[in-house]
Structure formats: C-alpha cells, structure tokens
Symmetry: C14
Subunit: 88 residues, 14 copies
C-alpha cells in the first residue's frame, strides 16, 4: 500500500468512527434532558418558560460535543492537511 | 490488493458501521423521550400541547445525531472524495 | 483474493452486521415506548386517543433508525456502487 | 481459497450471526411489552381490549426488526447476488 | 484446507453459535413474561383467563425468534446450499 | 492438519460452547420464574394450583431453548453429517 | 502437531470451559431460588410444605442445565467419539 | 513443542481456569443465600430451624457446581486420560 | 511505510479517537447536570437564580474536559510538533 | 523454548491467575454476608448467637472456594505432576 | 521504522489516549457533584454559601485528576525527554 | 529469548497482575463491610461492641484473600521454584 | 528496534496509561464523597464542621491513590532507572 | 531484543499496570466508606467518635491493598531481583 492509500483509508475509517461513537453520548444525554423537561412540565406547568429556557441552554451545550465530532469528521474528509500535503 | 479495492472495501465497512453504531443512541434516546411524554400525558392531560411541543423539539435534536451518521454513510458510498481522487 | 471477491465478501459482511446491530436499539426502544403506552392506558383510560397518537409518532421516529440500517443493507446487496464500478 | 469458497463461507457466517444477534433485541423487547400488558390487565381489567390492541400493534412493530434480520439471513443463503454472479 | 473442509467447518461453527446466542434472548424474555404472569395471577386471580391467554400469545411471539435461530441452525447442518453446490 | 482432524476439532469446540453458552439463559430464566412462583405462593396460597400450572408451562417453554442447544450438541458429537461425509 | 495431539488438546480445553462456563448460570440461578424460598418461609411459615416442594422442583430444573454441561464434559474426556475414531 | 508438552501445558491451563472461573458463581451464589438466611432469621427468629434446613440444602446444591469444577480440575492434573495415553 | 506516512496516519487516528471518546463523558455529565437543574426548578422555582448560576459554573467545569480533548485533537491536525519536525 | 521452560512458564501464569481470579468472588461474597450480619445484629440484637453461627457456617462455605483456588495454585508451584514428569 | 518515528508515533498515541480516557472520570464525577449541589440548594436554600463552598473545593479536587492527565499529555507533545534524547 | 529470561519475565508479569487483580475484590468488599458497620452503629449505638467484633472477624476473612494474592506475588519474586531450578 | 527505543517507547506508554487509568477511580470516588457531603450539609447544617473535617480526611485518602499513579508516571518519564542504566 | 531489555521493559509495564489497576478498588472503596461516614454523622451526630474510629480502621484496611500494589510497583523499579540477577 502506498502512502496516499493509507492516509485515505485511515481518514475514511476515523471520520466514520468519530461521528458514530461521538453521537452516542449526546443522543442519550439530550434524551435525558428532554425526559426531565417533560417531567418537570407535567409537574409544574407554571414554570414552563424557565424550564424550556434552561432546557435549550442545556441542549445547546450537549449538542456542542456532537458538533465537535461532526466537524472533525468533515475536516478529515474534505480539509485533511495530511492528505493535502501528500497529494500536493 | 490495489488501492482502489482498499478504498472501496473500507468505505463499505465504515458506511455500514457508522449508521449501525450511530443508530443505537438515538433509538434508545428517542424511546426514552417518548416514554416520558406518554407518562406526562397520562399524569397531566391538560398540558398535552406544551408536552408534545417540547417532545417534538427534543426528538428533532436527538434525531439530528442519527442524521449526521446517515449523511456520512451516504457520503462514503456516493460522494467519497478519496474514491473519486483515485478513480479520477 | 482478487478485488471482486473482496468487495463482494465485505459487502455481505457489512449488510449483515448493519441490520443485526442496527435492530437492537430500535427493538428495545420501541418496546420501552409500548410498555409505557400500556402503562399509561391502564392508568388513564380516558386519554387513550392522545396516548396512542403520541405512541405512533414515537414509534415512527424510532423505526426510522431501523429503516436507515435496512436501506443501507439492501443498497450494499443490490445497488452497491463499488461492486458496479469493479464489475462494469 | 478460491473466490467461490470465500463468498460461500462468509455468507454462512453472516446469515448465522445476523439472525442470532438480531433476535436478542426483539426477544427481550417483546417480553417487556408482554410483561407490561400482563401487569396492566391485572391492574385495569376493564381496559382489556384497548390494552391488547396496543400490545399487538407494538409486537408487530418490534417483530418487524427480527423479520428484517431473518429476511436478510434467508437472502444470503438462497438469493445471494454475489454468489450468483460468481457461479454464473 | 480444501473448500469442502472450510465450508463444513464454518457450517458447524455457525450452527452452534446461532442457536447458542439465539437462545439467550428468548430464554430470559420468556422467563420475564412468565414471572409477570405469576405475579398478576397472585394479584388478580379472577383474570386468570385473560392473563394466561395474553401470556401464551406473548410466549409464542418470543419463542418465534428462538425458532428462527433453530431453523437456520438445522438448515446449515442438513440443507446447506453451499455444501450441496460444492459436493454436487 | 488434514480435513478429518479439523472437522473433528471444530465439532468438539462447538458442542462444548453450544451447551455452555446455551445453558446460561435458561438457568437464570428458570430461576427467575421459580423465584416469582415462590413469591406468589407466599403471597396468595389459595392460588397454588393455577400458579404451579403456569409455572410448569413456563419452565417447559424456557427449558426448550436449553434442549435445542443440547440436541445440537449431541448431533455434533454423534450424528455429525460433515464428519460422516468425510469419513464415508 | 499431529491429529491425536490436536484432538486431545481441544478435548481438554472444551471439557474445562464447558463445565466452568456452564456452572455460572445454575449457581447463581439456584442461589436466587433459595434466596426467595428463605424469604417466603420467613414471610409465610405455614406454607413451608408447598414452598419447599416448589423449590425442589425448581432446583432440579435449574440443576439440569449444569448436569448437561457436566455430562458433555465427561463425554469429552472418557467417551470422545473423535478420539476413539483416531486412536482406533 | 512435542505432543507431551502441549498436552501438559494445556492441562495446567485448563485446570487453573476451570476452578478459577467455576468458583465465581458459587461464591457469589452462596453468599446471596447466606445473606437472605441472616435476613430471615432477624425477621422471623422462630423459624430458625426450617430456615437453616432450607439454607443447608441450598448451599449443598450450589456448592455442587463448584465441586464439579474442582473434580474436573483434579482429573486434569492427576487422572488425565490423554496424558496417560501419550505417556503410556 | 515511510515515517511521514506513519506519523500522519497516527495523527489522524488519534485526533478522531480523542474527541470521540472524550465527548462521551462530558455529554452525559452535562445532561445529568441539566436534568437536575430542571428538576430543582420545578421543585423550588424561587431559587431559579442560584440554581442557574450553579448550573452554569458546573457546565463550564464539565465542558472544560471536552475542550481539552478538542484542543488536543486540533493540535494533532494543525500544530503537530512531530509532523513538523519530520517535514521540516 | 524447550519443554521445561514452557511447562514452568505456564505453571507460573496459571498459579497467579487462579488465585487472582478466584479471590474476587469469595471476597465480595464474604463481604455481602458480613454486611447482612451487621445489618441483622443492628436490627435484632437478641439473635446475636444464631446470626453469628449462621454467618460463620456461611463464611466457611464461601471461603472454601477460595481455598480450592489457593490449593491448586500451590500445587502448580510445588507439586506439579507435569513438571515432575519432565524433570524426572 | 526508525527510532525517531516510533517515539514520535507513540507519543502522539499516548497524549491522545491519556486525555481522552482521563476526561471520562472527572467529567462524570464533576457532574455528579454539581447534580447534588443543585439538589441541596433546592432543598435547603439557606445553606447556599456552605454548599457552594464545599462544591468548589470538591470540583477543584476532582478537576485536579483531569489536570494531571492534561499536563502529561502536553509534556508528551512538547517536553518529551525521550524525543529530546533521541533528537539531540 | 532464553529460558531464564522467559521465566523471569513471566514471573514479573504474574506477580504484578496477581496483586493488582487480587486487590480489587477485597478493597471493595472491605469497604462494603465498613459501610454497613458505620450504618449499623448510627442506627444501634448500643450494639457497638458486637458490631465491631463481627466487623473485625469479617475484615480478617476478606483480607485473607488479599493476603493469599500478596503471598503468591512475593513467592514469585523471591522464592520462585522454577527460577531456582533453572538458575541452579 | 534497539533497546533504547524500546525502553523509551514503553516508558511513554506506561506513564500515559498509569495516570489515565489511575485517575478514573479517584475522580469518581472523590465525587461520591463530595456528593454525600453536600447531601449531609443540606440535611444537618449544624454538623458542618465535623462533616467537612471528615470530608477532607477522606478526600486526602482517596487523592493519595491518584498521587501514587502520578508519582509513578513522573518517575517513568524523568527518573527511569532502566533508561538511565541503558543510557549510562 | 536481548534479555536485559526484555526484563526492563516488562518491569516498567507491570509497575505501571499494578499501581494503576490496583488504585481503582481502594479509591472507590474508600470513597464508599467516607460516604457512609458522612451519612452516619449527619444522622447520628452524637456517635461522631465511634463512627470516625471505625472509619479510620476501615480506611487503613482498605488502603493496605493499595499499599501492597504500590510496594510491588516500587520493588519492580528499584529492587527487582531478576534485573539484578541479569545485570550482576
């Protein structure tokens, strides 16, 4: 296997694994947050505003870790510095 | 094995694993959210509107991580930059 | 092993694993949703309509991740771009 | 090993694993649904009809993922496109 | 190793694993269903009929996944298409 | 290693693993069913008859998966079609 | 390694693993059954007879899976058909 | 490595693993039974006799699986049929 | 493989794994914190201010470990000292 | 590696693993028994005698599995039949 | 591979794994501490001062283990004694 | 590698693993016993004497399994019969 | 690979793993201690002094195991006796 | 690799693993003990003396297993009998 092939193959592998593994935590985490928000609304409907505001802040924080993984995954496919160095 | 075969084989492997692994988290997470929504409706039927609105926002957020994986999986099959570079 | 064999073998492996792994999450997730629906009906029979409506929306969302895996599995068997490129 | 043998061996392996792994989730999931149905009947016998209707819808949804795996398993044994292409 | 031996060996391996792995889920799932049936009978003896009817439907659904695995296991031993193709 | 040895060795391995793995699920599942039967008898002694009848049906269903594994294990040792084909 | 050695070595390995793995499930399962029997006796001493009768039936069922493993383990050591075929 | 060495080495390995793995289940299982016996005595001192009788029966059943493993372990060291056949 | 390729390949692998593994803990941790904040608001709406202040401090602490991983991941891609030493 | 070295090395490995793995179960099991004894004494001080008697019987049974492992471990070091056969 | 490459590659691998693995414990640990702080504030608002003081001491202690890992990770990249010894 | 090196290397490996693995069970087990002793003292201060006596007996029993591992670990380092046989 | 490289590479690997693995236990353990301290303060504010004193003693004990790992990790990097022996 | 390098490398590996693995159990165990001590103090402040005395005895017992591992780890680095025998 020449260098180009190795770098290409490994980039494909890692871009897949990064987003696949990286989506487990946020998916479950966001679900837990939504679960509790639904529970709190049913329990204290008057606090709907402060609950949903806190929920959205929390979802944004949690989603951010999924975004990190997706960004890295796209970088590996379309802006890979090692691939560019070898191809260039 | 020549380079084309390696890149092709690895793309198949990763497109499969990415969606397979990436569907576990969202499936269970969405289920948890739905479970709690059903529980909250049974407990507080009057809040059906705000509960289902929060539920749909949450499902959208959680489904997004499954979508990331599916997108990557399709990119690896049909818009793979490394495959195109080698074939081209 | 020549390229055709490798691509064929890996396509079989991944089509199997994708649907096998990808069916665990949805199966358990849907079960949880159904469980809670049954619990809510027993607890609040008057809300049967809104409960079953929410349940069906939820089952559809969860089933969608199983469908993604099944689609990919079928693509690998019958519309595999790498196999077609090598055979063609 | 020649190509025919490899494709045959891998088809056997995957048809076995697919149905074996793919039966764990549905078996446990259906059991959970049945468990809750039994619990709900004991708790609310008057709702026997709506409970068993929801149960059957749920079992059908969950069984569907086991069916996907069984279908793929049978395809690999008796309608395998790669085997046919090599033998043909 | 010649092709016959490989196909034979792999058929033995998979027929064993398929039924071994495939019996874990149903065994535990059926046990859970029986457990709940016993609990419900002790709690609501008057509903013995509808409970045992639901139980038997559920056990049949769950047992079906074990049957799928046993069927595949027997097919691999006694009606293996790849073995027949090679021997024939 | 010649073919006879391979088939023999693999038959021994699989007959052992099949019954070993296949006995975990039923053993724990039957135990759970017995546990609940004992609990229900202590709670509702008058229902001893319907409880023990349901228990025996359940144990039979669960034991059936252990039997499948034991049967396959014995087939591999004493009625192995691949061994017979090679020896014959 | 000649065939005799391989068959002998694998027979030793599997006879050990079979009984070792196969004793985990029954040991824990029987313990659970005994635990519940003790709990039920303390709770309902008058039902000592029906409890211990059910317990012994249950222990016999659970022990049976351990017996299957022990039998196979002894067969592999002292009545191994493959060893006999090779030595004979 | 000659045959004697292989058989000897594998016998040592399996005699160790068999008793090591085989002692986990019984140790924990017996502990659970003892735990419950202590709990029942504190709760119902008058039933000390029937509790300890049931406990000893249960401990004997559970210990039996540890004994199976110990017996096999000793057989492998001091009455190993394969070793005797090779040495003889 | 020459040195450049090895260092490049390993940098890609580690940058992916670091952010993927490193995002699991924070995602779940932040979710737990948000869950409890939502629970506390529903329970004690008057303390909304001190609750959300403590929440944001906590989220910042937890996010910091995700940031460490993301920083390392970017360093490996764009400011890798070993790559620079080899290329220079 | 000659036979003596192999047998010696494997004896060391197994004597270590046997006691290491074999001490996990008893240590945790005995701890559980002691925990419950302490709980029962605090709850029913008058039954101190029958509790501690049952505890000591139980600890002896549980410790016996650790002793089996320690005995085997010492046998492998100082009374190893295979080592003696090779050295003799 | 020459020595420089090996040391470089291993330094990259370990710097990534160290911070990735090392961030799991602190992230979850800090989250637990924050969770309980939020719970305690909702329960005892008057103790806000002593609660947040104890929380910050605890977060500092827990974060310290993440810092150890981050420090080691940076040392491996930028102050690696073995790399310097080889390059020098 | 000559025999001396192999035996030395394996002795180091096993002495480390034995005490490392062997300390997990006792550490957690003793902690559980201490936890319960503290709980019982807070609940029943008058039984401080019988509680601490039972605790010390229990800690001695549990510590004994750690001691077995430490003894074996020291034997492997300083009184290793196989090392002595080879060196002598 | 020459000896210097091996010792260097292994020292890097182990210094990373030691602190990474060694930080999981303390991080979670300290978090549990802090969690309980916060719970106890909210429950019994008057005992703030004895609670925080016990907490700090406990955190010191737990942190000590993290320190052991960090010390070993630094020793391997900067005071490694084997490296010094080889370099000297 | 010559003998010196092997023994040195393995000593480094094991000294790291021993303390790393060996610190998990004690860290979590001590944390549990501290947790319960804090709980007991909040619940029964008058028993502060007997609680903290029992706690310190328990922490000493638990810490002892960490000490065993640390001692072995230091022995492997600075008083390694096999290294001395080879170097001498």
């Amino acid at each position: 296997m020449d260098s180009i092939t190795i770098i290409g193959a490994i980039s494909i592998i890692m871009s897949g694994f990064t987003i696949a593994i990286g989506s487990i935590g946020p998916a479950i985490g966001e679900a837990n947050a939504v679960v509790q928000a639904l529970k709190s609304i049913a329990q204290q409907p008057d606090e709907y505003n402060s609950i949903s505001r806190t929920l959205f802040v929390g979802l944004a924080m949690i989603e951010s870790t999924a975004i990190y993984c997706f960004v890295l995954s796209m970088i590996l496919l379309y802006a890979n510095p090692f691939w560019n160095a070898l191809v260039g």
